[in-house]
């Protein structure tokens, strides 16, 4: 056995291996952090330190001056999948009282034949977001906007909690045997349409997506048209506008009838 220590630089193995490794690391760092960034005129770097920071990925504050502001109101609700999933009894009770003013269209038990949304059993986060968007003007409706204008944040939370507490009631057009259209189960990948069921409950439920089972077909169609034409714009990241624009009239008919027939 060699009696040289594996940690002494007098051991040629140590000096050579540490030297070569460090040499490669220094060269790679120089090339990656200094030379290559400076060789790219598009980066508009002000010097070596700027090059190093840019290549190391130090976050930079982008200039806000050029940001284009939309010419319409956008939603200010931040959705998370845990949002409003833990109802509280006091809130539900307050919501029941507040919801009396909603009953004329949405039904005393959150279900009606007025072609307005059936709210019984709807996810609280969904109802809350829509109320909030009506209040801020991110979503506009001649009937709902004035109702929402005077609601406080707590009112909206309470109404949402109350409706999510009510049991879902099947619609008069219930037909569970109706086969799901292809757009619901598989979407249309080539038109960038995810399956409806991937967010709206058949396959998975995603934060902010309403439960569509038993909703009025008239209402679903009207909303898809509103998304497609851009008259409704409060969907998160334009998800529904991008989908609705790509859907055919036949597909819109199919999904509206399908969801109306679901429990």
């Amino acid at each position: 056995m060699s009696d040289q220590s594996p940690f002494s630089f007098r051991n040629p193995w140590v000096s050579a291996s540490v030297g070569i490794t460090a040499g490669i690391a220094v060269l790679a760092a120089f090339a990656g952090l200094v030379w290559l960034p400076l060789a790219q005129p598009d980066l508009k770097l002000s010097g070596i330190w700027d090059a190093i920071c840019s290549a190391a990925g130090v976050p930079r504050v982008s200039s806000q001056g050029n940001a284009i502001q939309p010419d319409f109101k956008t939603s200010n609700v931040v959705m998370t999948s845990e949002m409003l999933t833990k109802p509280n009894q006091v809130s539900i009770g307050r919501g029941a009282t507040l919801a009396q003013r909603c009953a004329i269209c949405h039904g005393p038990q959150g279900v009606s034949d007025a072609n307005s949304p059936n709210l019984a059993g709807q996810f609280a986060a969904v109802t809350y977001k829509e109320l909030n968007d009506f209040k801020t003007g991110a979503r506009v409706n001649v009937v709902m906007s004035p109702f929402a204008a005077n609601l406080s944040n707590q009112d909206m939370l309470d109404i949402a909690a109350y409706y999510s507490y009510l049991p879902r009631v099947p619609s008069n057009n219930l037909d569970p045997k109706l086969a799901a259209p292809q757009i619901v189960t598989t979407g249309a990948p080539m038109r960038n349409i995810a399956p409806c069921g991937a967010c709206h409950g058949d396959v998975d439920n995603k934060a902010g997506s309403p439960w569509l089972g038993g909703q009025s077909a008239v209402y679903i169609k009207a909303q898809l048209h509103a998304f497609a034409t851009g008259t409704r714009r409060n969907d998160i990241s334009q998800q529904m506008r991008n989908i609705a624009r790509q859907m055919t009239a036949q597909e819109i008919d199919q999904v509206a009838r399908y969801y109306e027939a679901q429990p």
């Binding site: 060699s2 009696d3 051991n11 690391a25 990656g32 290559l36 190093i52 840019s54 290549a55 990925g57």
Partner: protein
């Protein structure tokens, strides 16, 4: 001398049982997403299957092979019983129970996150806990390898560590360190979310931690294969190892540079700066070096064996090799697949070239060719070589073994070459459904069908492999003698201490980790605005 045969056999049998099940899932997936199958299934089942296939093939199967082979090497090369037999069994049961704990939520559809976790997707906590149990079980093995080597060295201060044991311990240290990344990711990022303690996750940081594991894990899978190249192959074909020192340097290079290079898996991720991506790219290039050294040494060893058998000529010696010998065949086929896979790998590691194939089926083709092909075919060879010594019964179905190895090779080529091709055409990976009726995608339909057919060939080969082992288990007893490793051409009397110990190399490994990963990790840990809401998989409907 193999003493704890039951321990080693238990590892191999569990590994191959898991392999057989996962192979079945793999072949089914190939069929499902091909144009041979009409689109009428729930894609959720596909993702469940991909998660199960990946977790079994990535975490359980090679880990058990590495552990079982490691215990065999310890006893055979150090010529003494394994120290810590009870701990070894404990490690085995941790892996076995962990695999079951992980697979239950996966099969229930509660953790279809694919085996690389993909945060911010978060599944059922038991999936992650199961994976952690597998890793902890393997860490027991890492510790045992180190302890057995240390005790042997104290007892034999003047002898060089046998090459097989040196390589085995190198592999265990590499795994010990590289598994830390995924462990950090699971324990500090994913589990708190999965258990409901927080609702947001730093997906970027989690992915950086996983990249720490993701690349070197392949080298951990590769080490048993390389050990077989160096210490089984020359002996099995009646030759000698060309160079003992070259072998040690190859394994040392793996220890030093296999791990701090994982960011090349994140070339299109935004959270790591381009400068660090470039540095990782450079070091990834370096990791080709030990493989090139190995190919050279193994070919030279084959030439020695051939010339001893009377082979002659510049290339004529190739014909004189014992091609009837399954180990010869497996090694040659493995090297061919390693060559193709390695060439593809050079494209993946190039910062610019990667952009054209990143996240396409090319990548799936690449890692199946390297791992499923070059590596796993040598696992078969290891099993064929060890089996008679473990069971005390001879393996006699040589024809079946050769058929099996050829089928595996052909199946893997038929599976992965079309995969690479459709990847170049732009077919994304990790998708259950492709609309082959679309004119833009229909040209890929033939290639995808072809690779589904390759999957079927692989399944047949896998079943043949299990048949050979089962038949061996039932054969008449026969004495197979002591298990020996290949002898080098020139037995070194003295070995530099650097080639006989790990301190220096482990220090370099950790040092390079700090240089290449320190800043990207520190930055993401400090930045608070990098947290995003978790996306729960299998949430209540």
């Amino acid at each position: 001398m193999l003493i704890n045969k039951r321990l080693i056999l238990a590892h191999f049998w569990l590994a191959f049982a898991v392999f057989g099940l996962a192979l079945l899932l793999g072949a089914w997936q190939m069929f499902l997403r091909s144009p041979l199958n009409a689109w009428h299934f729930n894609p959720e089942f596909y993702y469940r299957s991909v998660t199960a296939h990946g977790s079994a093939m990535g975490y359980v199967f090679p880990t058990l092979i590495g552990m079982g082979f490691g215990y065999a090497i310890t006893e055979a090369s150090l010529e003494k019983p394994l120290i810590g037999r009870r701990w070894a069994w404990a490690g085995f049961f941790l892996v076995a129970v962990g695999a079951i704990v992980a697979m239950i939520p996966v099969s229930l559809g509660l953790a279809s996150v694919l085996y690389t976790f993909y945060p911010p997707m978060v599944g059922n906590p038991f999936y992650y806990i199961g994976v952690v149990m597998v890793v902890v079980g393997s860490w027991i093995w890492v510790a045992l390898m180190s302890i057995n080597l240390a005790i042997w060295k104290r007892e034999n201060p003047d002898k060089p560590v046998p090459l097989a044991m040196f390589a085995n311990v190198a592999g265990s240290y590499l795994w010990g360190w590289t598994a830390v990344g995924a462990a950090l990711e699971i324990i500090f990022q994913i589990l708190p979310v999965a258990l409901g303690l927080t609702a947001t996750i730093d997906a970027g940081l989690a992915r950086v931690f996983f990249s720490w594991t993701l690349h070197a894990i392949v080298y951990f899978w590769l080490i048993p294969t390389y050990i077989a190249y160096y210490t089984i192959f020359p002996r099995a074909i009646g030759g000698r190892l060309y160079s003992d020192a070259m072998a040690r340097i190859s394994f040392i290079l793996f220890v030093v540079v296999a791990m701090p290079i994982g960011v090349h898996h994140l070339f299109t991720d935004p959270q790591v700066g381009p400068g660090f991506k470039f540095m990782h790219s450079v070091f990834t290039g370096l990791v080709a070096l030990p493989t090139l050294l190995t190919v050279f040494t193994i070919c030279a060893s084959a030439e020695i064996a051939s010339r001893l058998r009377g082979g002659s000529g510049a290339f004529g010696w190739v014909r004189a090799l014992p091609w009837q010998n399954p180990i010869m065949l497996a090694t040659a086929l493995s090297l061919v697949m390693l060559g193709f896979g390695g060439a593809g790998g050079l494209i993946n590691m190039s910062y610019q070239l990667d952009a054209s194939i990143h996240n396409t089926q090319w990548i799936t083709g690449h890692f199946h060719l390297i791992f499923g092909g070059a590596i796993v075919i040598m696992y078969f060879a290891i099993a064929y070589d060890l089996w008679p010594h473990l069971t005390g019964r001879a393996l006699e179905s040589f024809g079946m073994m050769r058929t099996q190895l050829w089928l595996w090779f052909v199946g893997m080529i038929v599976t992965t070459f079309p995969w690479h091709y459709v990847g170049v055409l732009g077919m994304p990976r990790r998708m259950a459904f492709y609309d082959y009726a679309n004119p833009a995608i229909s040209p890929q339909a033939f290639s995808v069908s072809m690779s589904a057919f390759g999957g079927l060939i692989l399944l047949i080969s896998g079943m043949l492999f299990l048949t050979v082992l089962i038949r061996g288990q039932m054969a008449a007893s026969s004495e197979s003698g002591a298990y020996k490793f290949a002898v080098p051409l020139h037995m070194p009397a003295r070995i530099p201490v650097a080639l006989n110990s790990f301190g220096l190399w482990l220090a370099l490994m950790v040092g390079l980790t700090v240089v290449n990963y320190g800043y990207p990790i520190a930055q993401l840990m400090v930045l608070k605005e990098t947290n995003v809401p978790a996306v729960y998989i299998g949430a209540s409907r």
